[in-house]
Symmetry: C2
Subunit: 418 residues, 2 copies
């Protein structure tokens, strides 16, 4: 295992690089990003060969098929990673933007200027494309990055890292701007999490237990979401055909991700008309329904939902369904059982949608659309570093802008405080 000293020195090296990276021009950053995108495509056979080794281990260990699916790299997935690099290169550089400028009565000119955060540590599981997306976003926003992927994708991550650092070393980016921790011992993470002063932000991505462990141990600020128990509430004022399309999409289009719907809430007035068709449509797509008593009275053959179901992120073709008396009960349910990620109301009633938007305290609140849109790409942010359900710094999908801080530059002419 890496020693504490080795870990500290690595972090010092990255911190030092981050100071220089903050001063690199947009043009030099974009050139490096474009070269990185091209290098990914050029070296795709090498990356796929290494990824096959991870896949073989995962299959041998009997990992579930959804896991294998997230882990696997194909030529088209690698093209997608390259495209992200090109997209990020084209986006506006957030660093140096003057956010605000104030002249005080004493003549002091105070400018609030956007700057990089510094050093970002990302801790993630399975998906190897996270490696290149995060490197792209961090470099464009002049942040140095320390990557710590899971052991299950270590060969794929190392291959992608090797290709990208190969490019970085020939570019104007300072050495040490990107580091990959290849030691998969858990204790290395614990050691990284006490490097406050060297690492400025930790972003854990993965299962809830991983993230809770990081929160418990870290002395460094964290941005995260634990899970995505997303709701769609079909109001009495809903267009029922639209509601059916949206709910089906929110559940089945990609059930294994955090913005998929896990619970559907239905106003009692329309439950009798809406639920039979809706549940039939779900059945046709292989979705298992776990319903409240009222749901089970309306639709026969529905399994009973127990209390724990309302808290559960299934990440699978399972859906809990509850009939509610009114919008207040729907909102109260979302606030009690939800995870403040993405929640939707389906209604034509402006008063109902206004109330829902105001009172649902989630990162993304939707009217008449699928929760599946909570995504950096869909929001127009290029790729995303992760999704936050915290109230601090960033909420929802995090792109380039969310990877910046600011500082105050104060211009005086001899002002002193009286």
């Amino acid at each position: 295992m890496m020693t504490s000293g080795e870990i500290k020195r690595l972090c010092e090296r990255v911190k030092c690089a981050s100071r220089k990276l903050a001063l690199v021009s947009t043009r030099d950053k974009n050139r490096a990003l474009i070269a990185m995108g091209k290098a990914l495509v050029k070296n795709r056979s090498y990356i796929i060969k290494e990824n096959k080794k991870d896949l073989a281990t995962a299959i041998q260990r009997g990992m579930p098929s959804a896991f294998i699916d997230r882990l696997g790299l194909t030529e088209s997935r690698i093209s997608g990673m390259a495209k992200s690099m090109f997209d990020i290169a084209r986006m506006k550089d957030p660093v140096g933007e003057i956010i605000e400028s104030v002249r005080r009565p004493n003549g002091l000119l105070i400018k609030k200027v956007r700057v990089p955060i510094g050093v970002i540590l990302i801790i993630y599981e399975a998906r190897p494309n996270v490696t290149s997306d995060c490197i792209g976003l961090c470099l464009k926003s002049s942040n140095a990055i320390i990557l710590r992927g899971g052991s299950e994708s270590i060969k794929s991550n190392t291959a992608i890292f090797n290709v990208l650092t190969g490019v970085a070393n020939k570019s104007k980016l300072p050495k040490g701007s990107i580091e990959l921790i290849k030691d998969t011992d858990r204790r290395v993470v614990n050691e990284l999490l006490i490097q406050d002063g060297l690492i400025d932000l930790v972003m854990p991505r993965g299962g809830e237990s991983l993230i809770r462990e990081v929160v418990k141990r870290s002395r460094i600020p964290i941005i995260k979401h634990y899970k995505g128990v997303c709701h769609t509430y079909v109001d009495s004022g809903a267009d029922l055909k639209m509601a059916e399309d949206i709910c089906l999409n929110a559940k089945i289009q990609r059930p294994g991700v955090c913005n998929a719907m896990e619970t559907m809430l239905v106003h009692k007035k329309i439950a009798g008309r809406f639920l039979p068709c809706m549940i039939k449509a779900f059945a046709g797509s292989g979705v298992e329904i776990r319903g409240c008593d009222a749901t089970r009275r309306i639709s026969s053959g529905v399994k009973r939902a127990v209390e724990s179901d309302w808290y559960t992120e299934y990440l699978d073709l399972i859906l809990s369904v509850k009939v509610v008396n009114d919008i207040d009960e729907a909102i109260a349910h979302i606030m009690k059982y939800g995870s403040y990620h993405s929640d939707a109301i389906i209604t034509k009633d402006k008063k109902a949608s206004g109330k829902f938007l105001n009172e649902v305290d989630s990162a993304c609140v939707y009217v008449n659309a699928s929760t599946r849109f909570t995504d950096g790409g869909q929001f127009g942010k290029g790729a995303e570093m992760g999704i936050s359900t915290d109230k601090i710094h960033a909420r929802g999908p995090m792109g380039l802008l969310e990877l910046t801080s600011y500082k105050y530059l104060i211009f005086g002419s001899g002002q002193i405080r009286r």
Copy 2:
């Protein structure tokens, strides 16, 4: 001591109040704030009477005079607290502001809207005015607040809290929006720091050891600064008279606060001309100098600075002084020994000031002004909740805007993800 259950229930009550507080109108908030300001003045004798009890205990315990000074309340200090309330009432309500609005190609309208953070826990020491300033700022930004002051000011804080909640209970603010923890047992803080999910943000204010303890234990996001080792670098291109005025002000105007200068760096080219006068001026104000070897060669009778001096926040009439070879050495010194709070360069040379502003990675970087201006009031933010040297969420003085988060409201017409 309060039980875990009592602490949890208190937090749940405040969380519940915070949801309602988010919906209170600006007018109702302002009315309550103005009534609070008036009530402080009206009840000043009661507050001063209770404060005298804290002062008596502090004197009995032999606390230092700077401590006694921070703790004491006078009629004029209470008027100042009331004035802050009136100022905050006059400021623009940040809640509900539309920060950004984007129409996506698929027709989705995405609005980024400013919302309160939710529940804020403030942990602080000695200064009782923090109680009313923080209550004012939190209520105006629709945040519920839990206050945990130190045992040394418990009677003063309780008196201020009683006066302000008396007003709150007669206003349109939801019950439970303000809570003061009267139990001064340390373990209560530890229990509060694991209430993630109920408390959204912790702001510790006080000594470095208090803050380190909070960082170690908290599962809730924190915004903080550990200390303020602020520097003034007198460049070779400085107006030496201006430099003398600024440095004197930065050191002596109020030495016990975080934005006072602790280290003065002087370019070797002007050290021989600048230091003798400057050190004489400091001596005249009772400032003890601890200098590097070059400083001691130029000015006789200066004590030798040891390595630990460069890291020290004296909060007193003591100053460390170092002669540097060039601006690069000055910047490197600040980045190595400083606390990224407030640092200044004194120079007429635009190239030097530009370099300093770019490369010094502190919350507030000054050209030709005293670091003493790092303050919410001086920045035009009304009062301040604290000063951040973190890179996450807020940097520098935190006012109303820094006490907000945002959420995305997404308006669709049936959009589903393909």
